[in-house]
C-alpha cells in the first residue's frame, strides 16, 4: 500500500502555532492506522524534515494559515498553493517545511502533498495551549484529515 505521512507543523510553545502537533497527537489518541501511515510531530524541525518526507507517496500536513478568515476558518491547499506560501510563510517552521518539500523534488519520486490549515487566533503569546476558537476546530480538522485518507483508500479504526 501507499506510504502516507501525516505531519503536524509548528512550535507547541506558541499557543495556536502548535495546532498541527496537537492535532496529530489527537489523531494518535483516537485512531489506529495501518502500517503504511505514519503520524509525525514535525514540531520545530526545519530542512531536516527531508528525511521524513522523502520516502512518502503522500504527505498530509497540518498547520496554521493566515488567509484573512476569522479565527478557526479552515483551508485546504494543493501543491502549487503550498509552494506559493514561501513568499509569505506563516512562521519560520512552515517556511522550512516548504523548502524541505522543494528539496524532495530534487529526488526521484517527490511525495504528493496537501496542506490543511486553520486561521489562528493567537500564535504569538507564549503558552502550550490552543485558544478556544482553535481547540473547537480539532474535530473539524480531524474529519478533514480522515477525508483525505478516505480519498486514498486508507482504512483505519477508532480506538475503543
Amino acid at each position: 500500500m501507499a506510504h502516507i505521512v501525516i505531519i503536524g507543523l509548528g512550535c507547541t510553545l506558541f499557543g495556536d502555532q502548535g495546532f498541527g502537533v496537537h492535532l496529530v497527537n489527537e489523531l494518535d489518541h483516537r485512531f489506529v492506522f495501518p502500517d503504511g501511515v505514519r503520524l509525525i510531530d514535525g514540531g520545530t524541525i526545519g530542512v531536516h524534515l527531508v528525511g521524513t518526507l522523502a520516502g512518502a507517496d503522500h504527505v498530509i500536513a497540518v498547520d496554521i494559515l493566515r488567509r484573512g478568515g476569522a479565527p478557526g476558518a479552515v483551508y485546504r491547499l494543493d501543491e502549487p498553493q503550498i509552494i506559493d506560501r514561501l513568499k509569505s510563510p506563516d512562521h519560520i517552521l512552515q517556511e522550512a517545511f516548504i523548502e524541505a518539500l522543494i528539496h524532495c523534488r530534487l529526488l526521484d519520486r517527490p511525495p504528493h502533498v496537501v496542506l490543511l490549515g486553520v486561521e489562528p487566533d493567537d500564535d504569538r503569546t507564549f503558552g502550550s495551549h490552543l485558544t478556544p476558537s482553535l481547540a473547537d476546530k480539532l474535530d473539524k480538522m480531524i474529519a478533514m484529515v480522515l477525508n483525505e485518507l478516505d480519498g486514498l483508500g486508507v482504512e483505519y479504526e477508532r480506538r475503543a
Binding site: 520545530t44 530542512v47 520516502g55 504569538r124
Partner: protein, 549 residues
C-alpha cells in the same frame, strides 16, 4: 564614511540574522551582527519541574532539537548529583554522534555549498569531462557520463520551473564563483546524493530516540530505551552509521578538498583570534579528562597554549543588547529582562541586537568546529591532528590558513570524519557491555530541595551551556548560552566585536549589490539563530533582501 550594506535576513534556513557592514575600497572595514528576534524561553521555564525542562528547550531550535535536550538533562543530572550508568553514557554519545554526522553533511551540501557552487554554471558542463573529474577526485559509488547528464537534466528542469526555493537566493554568475562548470556539476550531483543519504541518516535518532524529530528517550538519570538494546536495533544503527561514514570519507571529504583547491585565498579571509571548546563525548565517567573532543581555550591564535576552560569565567554582557542595563553576569545569575520600550536599532553606539554578548574571561571567542579542531590539534589529538595535517598537505597551505573561513569549513568536515569512526567504536563498546550482562540504562535519584547544575556540551554548532538553579524542587532560574550567541553576538561594554563581526573585516566585496562574500563567512559559522533568539515577527516576505545605503 564608506558605503553601508545591510543583508537581512541572512540565514539560509533558520532564524533571522541581520548583518550590516561598511565597505571602503572594495573591502569590509566594519561590521555589526544583529539578532532580530527575541527568545523568551527561559521565562516560561521558571517554576516548572526540572525533569520536564528538556521537553521545552528542545523546541527552541529548528535543527538541533537533540542537543538542547541533552544539554538540559546534563544540567539537571548535575544539579541532582546523579551519575548515569555506562549504557546511558554510550547511548547519549551515539545519539549525539549521529546528530553531528547528519548536521554537518546537511550544512556542507544544503546550507553552505551554494555559496561556493554555481548551479547555473553546472548546466554548461560537459558530462563526459565531469565524469572524468569525479573519478579522479571522488570515491562516490555513482558516476559516469550518463549519470551526470541525467543530473544536469534534472537541474535544468528545476531551474526552468522557476521554483528554485533554496536555490533562488544565490547570486548565480557572480565573479567570486571560481569553480569550472564540471566541478559545479559534480558538486550539484553530490548535493542530491547527500540529500538522498541524509534522509536515511536521520533515522539513526529514531532507533534509540523513539522518534525523530524530537527524540524522547533522554531523561534525567539516563535514557529510557532499554527495550531497544537488541541485536536488531544495534545492527541497524551500525549499518546506517557505516553507510553515512562511507559517504563522508568517499565523497564529502574529497568534495571539500576539491572545492577548497579553487578557493585557497579564503584561507586568508574570515578569521578570528580566540577559540573556546567545551569538548564532548565522555569516554569514561571522568569529565573533562576523558572527552573525545577535548575541552580547551586558545587565545590570540596561540596553538602552543591550550588552557583548561573554567566555566566560572563565562559572563553575558547586555550593554549593546536590547535588555535592561546591568553588569556582565554569569549564567547562574543571568537575567532576561527585555527593554520595556520598542527596541531601536543603533549599531553605531547604542543597542542593536536581541542577542546578549557572551564573553570568556572578558574576551569574545569563536565556538564551533574550528574551535574544537584547533583545541584538539593544539593538544595533539591522535585522530584529528593527522587528518588536519593531511588536508593541509593536500591543499599545500600552512597551518595559519586554518584561521579563516576556509579553515572553519574544512574543520567541520575533518571532525565529521573523526566522529564517524569513533561512533562505530562506541557502538561496539555498547555491544560488549550488554554482552557482559550490564543492561542498566537509568540511575534512580532523589530530587533535592535545592541545587545548581551546569551542562557543558559541544554540539555541531559549538559550545552549548545550560545552567539550572533549583529551589523548592522547582526551576528557580534557567539560562542557556548557545553557540550562535557566542559567534554572532553584538559588541560588549568594552566595545569588543563578536567573532562574526571580527571575521568579516577585510572581506573583499566585488559587487556591493551582491555581497556573496559576506554570506560565505557568515554561513561558515552555521548560524541558526532560531535558537539564539525567538520569534517576534513571523512575517518575512523576502529572503536575502539586500539594502545598499
Amino acid at each position: 564614511m564608506g558605503k553601508r550594506i545591510i543583508v537581512d535576513p541572512i540565514t539560509r534556513i533558520e532564524g533571522h540574522l541581520r548583518i550590516e557592514v561598511e565597505i571602503e575600497g572594495g573591502h569590509v572595514v566594519d561590521a555589526w551582527s544583529s539578532g532580530q528576534m527575541f527568545r523568551g524561553i527561559e521565562m516560561i521555564l521558571k517554576g516548572r519541574d526540572p525533569r520536564d525542562a528538556h521537553h521545552f528547550v528542545q523546541r527552541s531550535c529548528g535543527v538541533c532539537t537533540y542537543v538542547h535536550a541533552i544539554a538540559s538533562v546534563r544540567a539537571v543530572d548535575d544539579a541532582f548529583n546523579v551519575k548515569i550508568p555506562k549504557n546511558a553514557r554510550l547511548i547519549r554519545n551515539m545519539l549525539h554522534g549521529a546528530q553531528y554526522l547528519h548536521d554537518h553533511l546537511v550544512h556542507f551540501y544544503h546550507l553552505h555549498a551554494l555559496d561556493w557552487v554555481d548551479v547555473v554554471s553546472a548546466l554548461q558542463a560537459d558530462p563526459q569531462k565531469t565524469a572524468a573529474l569525479a573519478d579522479s577526485v571522488s570515491g562516490a559509488d555513482v558516476g559516469g557520463a550518463v549519470y551526470f547528464k541525467s543530473v544536469q537534466q534534472r537541474l535544468k528542469t528545476f531551474v526552468e520551473s522557476g521554483q528554485l526555493g533554496p536555490f533562488a537566493n544565490a547570486y548565480w554568475g557572480h565573479s567570486a564563483y571560481k569553480l569550472p562548470p564540471e566541478a559545479n556539476l559534480m558538486a550539484c550531483a553530490h548535493y542530491i546524493e547527500a540529500l538522498r543519504l541524509q534522509a536515511r541518516t536521520a533515522r539513526l535518532h529514531a532507533i534509540f530516540g523513539g522518534k525523530n524529530p524530537h527524540p524522547q528517550s533522554l531523561v534525567v538519570g539516563g535514557v529510557t530505551c532499554q527495550a531497544s538494546l537488541t541485536a536488531d536495533h544495534i545492527a541497524e544503527f551500525l549499518y546506517v552509521t557505516k553507510e553515512t561514514q562511507a559517504f563522508v570519507k568517499n565523497v564529502y571529504l574529497p568534495d571539500l578538498l576539491a572545492v577548497a583547491s579553487f578557493y585557497k585565498d579564503w584561507g586568508g579571509i574570515g578569521g578570528t583570534r580566540n577559540f573556546l571548546a567545551y569538548g564532548d563525548f565522555p569516554l569514561t565517567e571522568k569529565e573533562p579528562e576523558s572527552l573525545y573532543l577535548p575541552r580547551g581555550v586558545i587565545m590570540k591564535r596561540d596553538l602552543g597554549k591550550v588552557d583548561m576552560v573554567d566555566q566560572a569565567k563565562i559572563t553575558e554582557d547586555v550593554t549593546r543588547s536590547w535588555y535592561e542595563p546591568g553588569s556582565p553576569k554569569h549564567p547562574y545569575e543571568g537575567e532576561t529582562k527585555p527593554l520595556a520600550e520598542d527596541p531601536k536599532y543603533e549599531p553605531s553606539k547604542g543597542k542593536y541586537s536581541w542577542l546578549k554578548a557572551p564573553r570568556y574571561d572578558g574576551a569574545s571567542c569563536e565556538v564551533g568546529p574550528l574551535a574544537r579542531v584547533l583545541v584538539a590539534y593544539g593538544k595533539g589529538h591522535k585522530d584529528i591532528k593527522p587528518l588536519v595535517d593531511k588536508a593541509l598537505t593536500q591543499l599545500s597551505i600552512p597551518a595559519t590558513a586554518l584561521f579563516s573561513t576556509l579553515g572553519r569549513t574544512a574543520a567541520r568536515c575533518i571532525e565529521t570524519v573523526a566522529i564517524g569512526d569513533a561512533l562505530q567504536e562506541w557502538t561496539m563498546e555498547l555491544v560488549e557491555n550488554i554482552k557482559s550482562g550490564d543492561t542498566k540504562t537509568y540511575e534512580p535519584y532523589e530530587i533535592p530541595e535545592s541545587g545548581r547544575g551546569v551542562g557543558l556540551n559541544d554540539v555541531p554548532r559549538g559550545a552549548l551551556g545550560h545552567w539550572v538553579d533549583v529551589k523548592d524542587k522547582k526551576i528557580h532560574n534557567y539560562q542557556y548560552v548557545v553557540p550562535s550567541t557566542w559567534n554572532l553576538s553584538p559588541r560588549d561594554g568594552k566595545n569588543q566585536r563578536s567573532p562574526v563581526e571580527e571575521a568579516l573585516i577585510g572581506t573583499p566585496i566585488a559587487d556591493p549589490k551582491k555581497p556573496l562574500e559576506i554570506l560565505r563567512t557568515v554561513h561558515s559559522f552555521d548560524p541558526c539563530i532560531a535558537c539564539a533568539v525567538h520569534v517576534i515577527d513571523p512575517h518575512s516576505n523576502e529572503v536575502y533582501k539586500v539594502n545598499v545605503i
